[in-house]
């Protein structure tokens, strides 16, 4: 993964969030406050609107810019969480990352998200998808394999009991529903992976 077209990745990410906004909102309505789809869509459309400007920057600066934009536009608890993910990726990644650097930066970004949300794996959050994706990256899986792993990880949040976020207020009643943040991560991983596949 040398130089790639960041604008096409932004388009892919914003497209998948827009296409699934209603589904994400429905997931969040079941066990949260029902704003996840709309919030994510607003944030990623704001990033899309500046895709060219982000693409013109070195990758670390671009990712930090995207993170800041998400923090400022997504709202809810997802804004700072997804924002922190991209901000930290930007801080840790090199301008022309190889897989080892990407994996290490992704690991740091996950740690930052866990700290921001005072959460950990197993609590029915986006971390439950982020961590398996990291492990698959580290294990040398292909983009398609990683996307499948992310989907399965999102599915695996269904039987979990929520211990963080609004869903935790429901206790056992949060069991049986997929975590909306985890689903968003899986969507983004698949879209970005597929967009990367077609590039040198």
């Amino acid at each position: 993964m040398a130089v790639f077209d960041l604008a096409s990745l932004i388009t892919a990410a914003a497209d998948t969030i827009a296409a699934h906004a209603e589904e994400l909102t429905a997931l969040d309505q079941a066990i949260g406050d029902g704003d996840h789809g709309l919030n994510m869509k607003r944030g990623f459309e704001a990033v899309r609107a500046e895709a060219e400007a982000f693409s013109a920057k070195p990758l670390p600066e671009a990712l930090k810019g995207i993170g800041t934009k998400l923090v400022m536009t997504v709202g809810g608890a997802s804004g700072p969480l997804f924002g922190t993910l991209f901000l930290t990726l930007g801080k840790e990644i090199s301008a022309e990352p190889d897989r080892a650097n990407l994996t290490a930066a992704f690991g740091k970004a996950i740690e930052a998200v866990a700290a921001r949300g005072k959460s950990q794996v197993g609590q029915k959050t986006m971390l439950d998808v982020l961590q398996p994706v990291h492990d698959a990256l580290a294990g040398g899986k292909t983009a398609a394999e990683i996307a499948d792993i992310a989907d399965r990880a999102a599915d695996a949040t269904i039987p979990m009991k929520a211990l963080r976020g609004r869903a935790s207020f429901l206790g056992d009643r949060s069991i049986g529903h997929m975590d909306a943040g985890g689903r968003s991560v899986a969507l983004l991983v698949r879209a970005i992976g597929e967009a990367l596949e077609g590039q040198p």
């Binding site: 704003d35 919030n39 923090v71 709202g75 809810g76 608890a77 804004g79 949300g117």
Partner: protein, 129 residues
């Protein structure tokens, strides 16, 4: 002003404003006070940008204590503090306390010239740990 400032962050602008009214009734203008609520798009929620604005408005060299309601308000407030950055960030604390009682108690403590540490401790006493 040399007294610690108080910032109230609720998902609802009505809750935030109402809480601020109760604080004003207790401490008048002795304490720098600001509130924000809503997602910035007309709905319930919290906005990092609005929180940063409220911190600016209530800024005091003695520091600022932030009172929040539900989880996203806390997460967004911590993000706002980080984005404001040092050196001011170390003088801003997001309190673990019920929003109404915490704001009134913290402001009352602040109005007597208490330090940020004392103001925060007063708010935290309201929360079972």
């Amino acid at each position: 002003m040399s007294n610690v400032g108080i910032v109230i962050v609720s998902h609802s602008p009505l809750v935030a404003e109402g809480t601020a009214d109760m604080v004003r009734q207790m401490v008048g203008d002795e304490v720098p006070l600001a509130w924000c609520g809503g997602n910035g798009h007309g709905g319930l929620g919290t906005s990092v940008e609005a929180i940063m604005g409220a911190i600016e408005k209530a800024w005091s060299e003695a520091g600022v204590a932030i009172l929040v309601d539900l989880g996203g308000a806390e997460t967004n407030s911590e993000m706002a503090v980080e984005m404001i950055g040092e050196p001011r960030a170390q003088k801003i604390v997001v309190c673990n306390a019920p929003i109404v009682e915490g704001a009134v108690m913290a402001a009352t403590e602040a109005s007597g010239g208490a330090s940020l540490k004392e103001v925060v401790a007063t708010a935290h006493e309201l929360s079972p740990s």
